[in-house]
């Protein structure tokens, strides 16, 4: 009688499992010396087209948590990370938000990357008063600033939502003032990727640039994921601009600047914090020379902590680059960690009480991060109005001007 196929497979499996697992040592029971565990969640796209950017956020939070555990920043607690893939979709975002809310150990969340996802995540977080700090959302509606643009009063829609980046209506005009007043751009071409971030930024830029007296050409759009921008460039070239503002992120921006210059349109490209990344200069190479990008806060590379972050990130050997929002995510995580340290110091709390406390502590945060000082206004927006314009010189972003936005 032949043994059935399953037995032939399962029996060696059983034996193999035993042999493999036999070579181990007796584990001390008890684990981590009685430390209680608290978890910081991450919501970001960890798969698909945006996974590199999303994983940059995740890894940066991971780094912050590891360092906090080493330094025992939150006494008596071990911190862990719970990273959830939102696949850059709103409905998945709502699901993972519910998952994090349901997990009682989660006391703060970093993310999400996309503003549209934030709009489904934030309501769920607000319901549970679980603090959420986005390292990248710049859409004006998330903190109710949309009403300001149309002349209404600002009302905060999500009580536990914060962000450490400037909203579009600050970064865009800041860049525009620089372009018109410092670079003396006369005819400005504007291109964006038709995503919430890129469009918001580009529109705010265009408005301010027009106000400041520059001629702004009709806005052109490209599609994220496209590689061939020659048609758009030909269209722009005919209108002879002397400056180009790009609303979007570095993958497209780097290709755009390359093709721009190959086509003989040798004008500087300027972008926002989505462009201000080492990846940009790496991909675009010599074509990036002279291009500009803005970012919130004082120049990071002038701060020792920022340099240390880049070194530590490299040392941790993550599979993905830091990306444009890694530094912000690192700061966001540290703001939550600092809030945790404060909330737990006064005594042992847990569950909803702890979440409420952490949210309060984040609201009152005053933290020196690698992207600058972080404090929040009553709507969850960063109060920092200091921004820096960087310019690519010899293949690196170098601070060209730091100023307070007025």
């Amino acid at each position: 009688m032949h043994p059935p196929r399953l037995v032939r497979i399962a029996a060696p499996l059983l034996i193999g499992a035993l042999v493999l697992s036999a070579c181990g040592s007796k584990k001390e029971s008890g684990g981590s010396s009685g430390n209680k565990t608290l978890t910081i969640g991450v919501v970001a796209p960890l798969s698909g087209d945006l996974s590199a950017v999303g994983n940059g956020i995740k890894n940066s939070v991971d780094l912050a948590i590891k360092q906090a555990n080493e330094k025992k920043t939150v006494k008596g607690y071990t911190l862990t990370m719970d990273a959830q893939d939102d696949t850059a979709k709103a409905d998945v975002g709502a699901t993972v938000a519910a998952k994090l809310v349901a997990s009682s150990g989660v006391v703060g969340v970093v993310g999400p990357l996309n503003s549209s996802v934030a709009k489904s995540v934030a309501p769920v977080m607000a319901q549970a008063d679980l603090v959420e700090i986005s390292p990248s959302n710049s859409n004006v509606d998330l903190t109710g600033r949309g009403a300001l643009v149309t002349g209404g009063t600002q009302v905060r829609p999500y009580k536990s939502y914060f962000r450490v980046v400037a909203s579009d209506d600050i970064q865009g005009p800041f860049a525009a003032q620089f372009a018109v007043k410092t670079v003396m751009a006369k005819t400005i071409a504007i291109v964006h990727d038709k995503k919430a971030y890129g469009q918001g930024l580009a529109e705010a830029f265009a408005k301010e640039a027009t106000k400041d007296g520059a001629t702004v050409l009709k806005t052109e759009t490209i599609n994220p994921g496209d590689k061939d921008f020659s048609a758009t460039i030909t269209k722009l070239k005919a209108q002879k601009p002397d400056f180009l503002f790009y609303g979007g992120e570095y993958p497209e921006a780097s290709l755009l600047t390359k093709q721009l210059k190959s086509a003989g349109l040798k004008i500087p490209l300027m972008g926002g914090d989505g462009v201000q990344s080492d990846e940009y200069t790496k991909i675009a190479g010599a074509a990036a020379e002279g291009d500009y990008a803005t970012a919130l806060g004082a120049p990071t590379d002038s701060l020792a902590s920022a340099k240390q972050f880049v070194t530590d990130y490299a040392a941790a050997k993550y599979a993905d680059p830091i990306g444009p929002y890694g530094a912000y995510a690192y700061d966001a995580a540290n703001v939550i960690i600092a809030a945790l340290a404060k909330s737990t110091a006064s005594g042992s709390k847990s569950g909803q009480a702890l979440r409420d406390d952490v949210t309060k502590a984040v609201q009152d945060a005053n933290y020196d991060g690698i992207t600058g000082k972080i404090t929040f206004d009553q709507f969850g927006d960063t109060t920092v109005k200091v921004l820096t314009v960087y310019q690519v010189k010899s293949g690196k972003f170098v601070a060209a001007k730091t100023d307070t936005f007025k």
């Binding site: 052109e220 599609n223 758009t232 269209k235 390359k258």
Partner: protein
């Protein structure tokens, strides 16, 4: 007028890639009536295969040597992937319900993308591709009309690929067997044609052309990434249908028309419906209009009518 001619050049360059990838769709569809959604990934693998070859070569290898080797490397990877895919994913489903292979194709597509993303070193974001052909080298075609060297290369590679393929299909024994199989697989089998081999041949040829497109795209843009196959794949499939699926000249024509529509829509479509944001919508509008008036594509399909 210069702008128009420059956009025409842009359209031809864009259309060349679409056409080249569309040929793979069309050949496989013509023979097995399978929409091989994973074909875009074959194109992507071609780019990565060439990159790998380049990295394996000693640095300082002259472009004259490395470029042909990269093409060979890209084709080798694409063809291998296509053959494995056909053998293990599609062949077992020949007699399955018509839609089953479609899901398999989507599965294969996801799998290949993720394979590259997770296991190709540093492929999570775009990888720089050696720009062996200098994009700043512009060839003037008119006072203000120019084409860059890599763009010219893309068009040349595409044309050579298309001509070679159509000669092969029309002249060679295997090519005629392919036509016969496309017309009527049962009769072809009765006539002693090894249809399995023919189907594999279609996959191989399609993969080789996709690899050419992948490599020339890498050279043109200086990068390859794991999701580059998706958009190109959908566009190429559209091109194939536009021209008449199963029809080799149709795929080429469809590719160029699609390129033309996209480029011209960016430049000339009435405001506010112009620009990159609307160009794909225009492509599909043109596709729908064409199909409404010519239900089997511009040049008509060449597919066995099966009940």
């Amino acid at each position: 007028m210069d702008v128009f001619f420059q956009q025409l050049v842009n359209a031809i360059v864009l259309g060349a890639t679409y056409g080249l990838v569309a040929l793979g769709y069309t050949m496989v569809y013509g023979i097995v009536q399978l929409i091989n959604f994973a074909h875009g990934e074959i194109y992507m693998l071609g780019g990565f295969g060439a990159l790998t070859t380049y990295l394996a070569l000693p640095s300082g290898t002259p472009a004259g040597i490395s470029l042909p080797l990269m093409l060979v490397g890209g084709i080798a990877v694409s063809v291998t992937a296509a053959v494995i895919m056909e053998r293990f994913a599609y062949r077992p489903l020949r007699s399955a319900p018509r839609l089953a292979p479609l899901i398999t194709a989507i599965g294969v597509s996801v799998f290949l993308q993720e394979l590259v993303r997770n296991f190709y070193p540093h492929a999570r974001s775009a990888r720089n591709f050696p720009q062996l052909v200098n994009p700043d080298y512009q060839i003037r075609l008119g006072s203000n009309v120019q084409i860059s060297a890599p763009q010219l290369l893309t068009v040349t590679v595409a044309l050579v690929g298309m001509v070679t393929l159509s000669t092969f299909v029309r002249r060679s024994r295997t090519g005629r067997a392919m036509q016969a199989t496309a017309q009527d697989p049962d009769t072809a089998r009765l006539m002693g044609i090894d249809t399995d081999r023919i189907i594999v041949t279609a996959f191989v040829l399609g993969a080789a052309l996709a690899a050419l497109a992948g490599v020339s795209s890498g050279l043109q843009f200086g990068q390859v990434d794991f999701h580059m196959g998706f958009i190109t794949g959908v566009k190429a499939f559209t091109a194939a249908v536009l021209g008449g699926i199963g029809n080799i000249s149709g795929a080429v024509l469809g590719g160029f028309i699609l390129g033309l529509v996209e480029v011209m829509a960016t430049q000339y479509a009435p405001d506010p419906f112009s620009g990159g944001a609307w160009k794909d919508a225009w492509s599909f509008v043109v596709l729908i209009i064409v199909l409404v008036f010519r239900p089997t594509g511009l040049l008509g399909e060449r597919v066995a009518a099966r009940a």
